[in-house]
């Protein structure tokens, strides 16, 4: 999200903002909003409609929808393809951030690489920004778990030899394959809804802490993009247009200018790509390119990637006051537990600058702005 605020507008307010974000956005084990109770029918609507459901319920605005991949709803989602257990797990976790590398980060635009593109995206130097990184939570994991069983049997049925049981699969056009895609769409829609709700609470938090109206804050969604998802798309292969299933694992979509699946107001520049780094360095906004369409089915990287295992990171952080270290750098961090902060220490990740420069020079997405964190909440 971009804002109408400059970093000096929130000077001295970051601790308040982080503390309030932490209260308003459920993060730790078992935490959820007391004002959120979904019955089964509503839960099914979430899975079918995605972010549209959230907007109907007052989370965010219709304008947000235009800036979400697939308009916040993957078609063909069928809640009947989802198990009772997934529904149970999903019910408890909708509108929660989750642990691991999930976060909400308040930052500012530290550097602009492409003025024209940044202008179209409504981004400018020193502007306050907010990044939200979360997904389908336990719901998605349960859908995966349920379908792994289905796929293990399917692989046997279709006589697919597996190098590893976790790679079990079925032809996309088979009954098992299409049922899975209908269930996966539910998980994607759950994730769109989850982010939409959290974004709404981010806005409420800013209003509450800074005592400003939404019109003054102008916390507008720049873009919401998925990673770890399979999509049915049309691409040109050897000069021929083909319908493909593009699986972006550890990758994110990066469509070129003029692509019809990107919002009208961005069509002249290409699709925005968000690449978060670790909590101590920076993150990037890039833009998709024609080269990505040709070379990577319109895809680019989605993050920095770890260099240290979580355990190694925790061992490295032992005896250190990570929260203090971050504070000394001007970054306020709050997490549900010490462990989840320590495993995310900056040196546990590759330097996102290096990673982004690789995709930039490869031409599969181009740098627009660099965001530097000021406040982070973690699950």
């Amino acid at each position: 999200m971009r804002s109408g605020l400059s970093r000096k507008d929130i000077q001295g307010r970051m601790k308040d903002l982080v503390d309030t974000l932490f209260i308003n956005i459920p993060s730790g084990v078992g935490s959820h909003r007391k004002d959120l109770k979904l019955n089964r029918e509503e839960q099914r609507q979430v899975l079918k409609k995605g972010a549209r459901w959230a907007v109907e319920k007052g989370f965010g605005t219709a304008k947000d929808i235009e800036h979400i991949e697939e308009l916040g709803c993957i078609e063909g989602a069928d809640p009947d393809r989802v198990s009772e257990r997934a529904m149970e797990r999903g019910k408890a976790q909708l509108g929660t951030l989750g642990s691991g590398n999930h976060f909400v980060e308040v930052g500012y635009v530290a550097e602009v690489f492409d003025n024209d593109v940044a202008r179209v995206l409504g981004l400018w130097k020193d502007q306050v920004t907010v990044l939200v990184h979360t997904g389908s939570r336990g719901f998605g994991h349960q859908v995966c778990d349920d379908y792994i069983r289905v796929m293990m049997d399917a692989a046997r049925k279709y006589q697919i030899e597996l190098p590893d049981p976790q790679l079990c699969c079925a032809p996309i056009s088979s009954p098992e394959g299409s049922r899975y895609l209908e269930a996966m769409a539910c998980a994607a829609n759950y994730a769109f809804t989850n982010r939409q709700m959290i974004s709404h609470w981010v806005r409420e938090t800013f209003e509450q802490v800074l005592q400003k109206s939404p019109r003054d804050l102008k916390l507008d969604l720049v873009y919401d993009v998925c990673h770890n998802i399979a999509k049915i798309e049309t691409h040109t292969v050897s000069g021929e247009k083909k319908k493909l299933c593009v699986h972006r694992k550890g990758a994110t979509r990066a469509f070129s200018p003029d692509h019809r699946d990107i919002p009208e107001d961005y069509r002249s520049i290409g699709q925005p790509v968000l690449i978060p780094g670790d909590m101590g360095r920076c993150s990037y906004v890039l833009i998709g390119t024609e080269r990505a369409m040709k070379e990577t089915f319109g895809s680019t990287c989605h993050g920095a990637g770890r260099v240290m295992s979580r355990h190694q990171a925790i061992k490295t952080a032992k005896g250190r006051a990570v929260v203090r270290e971050m504070e000394d750098k001007g970054i306020i961090v709050k997490g549900a537990s010490r462990g989840t902060i320590e495993e995310e220490i900056p040196e546990a990740y590759k330097d996102v600058n290096d990673v982004v420069n690789v995709v930039h020079h490869a031409g599969i997405s181009l740098k627009v702005v660099k965001l530097v964190p000021m406040g982070v909440i973690k699950g």
Partner: protein, 148 residues
């Protein structure tokens, strides 16, 4: 207790395998019951500081099996499900029946309480990746990779 039995007692019950993206558990057991009990304990040892968890709640787990490997993943996933949905932390496990055809077990622990308990690692899923359950040195050994 004779020397042999003592040596067996001293054998380590589990170790944690480090990996950049996931985490692995190597679990040992004298027999299958112990193997599955130790796997569950290793799993919750990773999630929380077990010294702070009391045995106040009990859940019964019953699973149909197909192979020991699948059963191991299902067992840990079942406990993860209970952790996720009911916010339970388990510390003591009693496997009553175990075989290729299935498992019946009891798990004891308590509800997660903010302040009283810590979460060391949030586990997202138990995977079938490189899963192994096999006999070794007169006992059993299992390998499980977790998505965290």
């Amino acid at each position: 207790m004779d020397a042999g039995a003592k040596a067996k007692k001293r054998r380590k019950r589990f170790e944690i395998l480090d990996h950049t993206a996931d985490i692995g558990l190597i679990v040992y057991g004298e027999d299958l019951k112990e193997l599955f009990e130790n796997a569950a304990e290793a799993f919750f040892h990773l999630i929380t500081d077990l010294r702070r968890v009391r045995q106040k709640e009990e859940r019964q787990v019953e699973l149909k099996g197909e192979s020991l490997e699948r059963l191991m993943v299902d067992w840990l996933n079942e406990l993860l499900y209970l952790h996720d949905v009911e916010n339970l932390l388990f510390k003591k496990f009693k496997v009553e029946v175990i075989g290729e055809e299935g498992l019946r077990a009891k798990a004891k622990g308590e509800l997660f309480r903010e302040g009283a308990h810590v979460i060391k690692t949030g586990v997202k899923a138990v995977t079938h990746h490189q899963i192994q359950v096999k006999r070794e040195d007169g006992g059993w050994r299992a390998r499980v990779i977790l998505d965290i």
